[in-house]
Symmetry: C2
Subunit: 315 residues, 2 copies
């Protein structure tokens, strides 16, 4: 890895798994060379607040203030607003911590003032001390909608309120056709020397990004290494509903299923050592492969995997 | 006092002093017979939230959850949202407690959904267990504006941010001319058997109510006892800037000054025993007078004063 004269690294990420690898990259890549493009299909309005779960998870993780136990929210959190809300008889299925609320209030205020989403995201993350660029995937509203056997529901209803219990029949990204990757997103991708698809849920976190018009075209036109990292290890998702969802939607619950799903926008793929048996099948998709330990339990794991992924991508 | 067959009691109130007497009345008057009409001229928008300081002080006080130390907010409060907001470099001159935030979030959400302010206020207070009716003075936007030697400023800027330091030249209630007392307010006043002007700041808490078109006419048309209670005791305000403000605006800082200011809408006036010397001058305004202890340090004080005021008003 050439520590000097580092190229531009762009990471595409969703929530927890993506944040872990982004954290590792952030420790290695000079911050002015790192851009993290984040899924906003999970955004929703709650209690009049604009909530952006994936942006917050990435931002809090890079700022070093993420709640290590939950995968969302900030550490040392308190829940007194929620307690008061419960006293008002309001639904409490979506937990909003007291410290976390400052982010939602400020983001909502700024968006209501018609500030660009990019500007809002940069202000919030910079003020928390994050020095690399975090970009929402688009300035437009895109909403991940889950069609289940109980009917269609918004992502948070499926994910948080129903805890991913309903069987999923299909997923759509409402508004994606009218949306565009922002100028900043397109520019970051065009100037990238490496593009890394973090180990986020391919169907819920990466697909919304890829559903934006021109996004696949921009990625296909890029001649740089484009490396995915499997969120599926040993036939199961490391976190969240990816395995259940892939199964319900007829994808093979293995690194092959993920690699196949993303193969048209990848040049390389990283799979876990427990899945070494799948390496050949992934290679057969036309992808370079790296087999290594992909489970990130500690900060050291995150940095080590990030280093290996960067090296694999030629950095 | 006829505990059976109680008449309808209407109290007009602003913040802390008003809340104390309202609390006393609430302990004595059957809740279905008590209506508290509250100043909303202090309402303002902050962080995208609709904040109504006087409604909250009345509501929290009657619900028994008011912060006994501050005169605003709820007891057992935490301040973690504010700490996070400060980390974002945002101004923190207006303190929003974590528990208190639930009220602002819910009120703002409901008002944005175009629910009537009366409905919102009733929902919030009922869910906190308040059984009497609390009414915002109007459904319309009225904003108390303070003209000072440093220029005109919104009430909260003067009151909280500048801590009442600027010398006041005049006060206006922006929007009052276009506002109306709500139907519920007008109806409560028309059906009142007693109207009590709580010991709130006459210039900042009662004047906004009286500035509503028709309000003075409705009150003048009422033939029932209308009793004011002096917030000025011994030449000073018990709380807040009333004395400083009365002085700056050329009113006599005494029960006489208050009684004179309100004399056209009162039939009786309660002054503190330390101001007994002023009783004759207040009587000379054509008002019945009661001299008693008006300082409410304990809940017992509040109930005792409320009882005496009701008896004085013929209840």
């Amino acid at each position: 890895m050439k520590q000097t004269n580092f190229g531009n690294v762009v990471a595409l990420a969703g929530g927890v798994g993506g944040a872990k690898l982004a954290y590792g990259l952030y420790q290695l890549v000079p911050p002015e060379k790192l851009t993290v493009i984040v899924n906003t299909g999970d955004d929703f309005e709650h209690l009049g607040l604009h909530i952006s779960p994936d942006l917050d998870t990435i931002m809090y993780t890079l700022a070093g203030i993420a709640n290590p136990g939950t995968g969302w929210g900030v550490k040392d959190e308190s829940w007194n607003m929620m307690a008061a809300l419960a006293r008002y008889g309001q639904p409490t299925w979506f937990q909003l911590g007291d410290r976390d609320l400052a982010t939602h209030l400020l983001r909502t205020k700024w968006l209501r003032e018609n500030r660009p989403y990019n500007w809002v995201t940069r202000e919030l993350s910079q003020r928390l001390g994050v020095r690399c660029l975090i970009l929402p995937m688009t300035e437009s509203l895109v909403r991940t909608m889950i069609m289940t056997e109980q009917g269609e529901m918004a992502f948070q209803e499926y994910f948080v309120q129903k805890q991913c219990q309903p069987v999923v029949k299909s997923i759509r990204f409402a508004g994606a056709e009218q949306a565009q990757p922002s100028r900043e997103v397109a520019s970051a991708l065009r100037n990238a020397d490496v593009i890394i698809f973090c180990p986020s849920n391919p169907l819920l976190s990466l697909d919304p990004i890829l559903a934006l018009p021109n996004m696949r075209r921009i990625l296909a036109a890029s001649r740089v290494p484009k490396v995915g990292v499997s969120p599926i290890v040993g036939g199961a998702a490391l976190k969240g509903p990816a395995a259940k969802l892939m199964n319900e939607l007829g994808l093979e619950v293995s690194p092959i299923g993920v690699a196949r799903h993303l193969s048209d926008v990848l040049t390389g793929f990283v799979l876990d050592q427990v899945d070494q048996a799948h390496q050949e099948a992934v290679s057969a998709l036309g992808l370079q492969t790296l087999v290594t330990g992909t489970i990130m339990l500690t900060d050291e794991d995150r940095v080590r995997l990030a280093r290996e992924v960067l090296q694999f991508a030629g950095m």
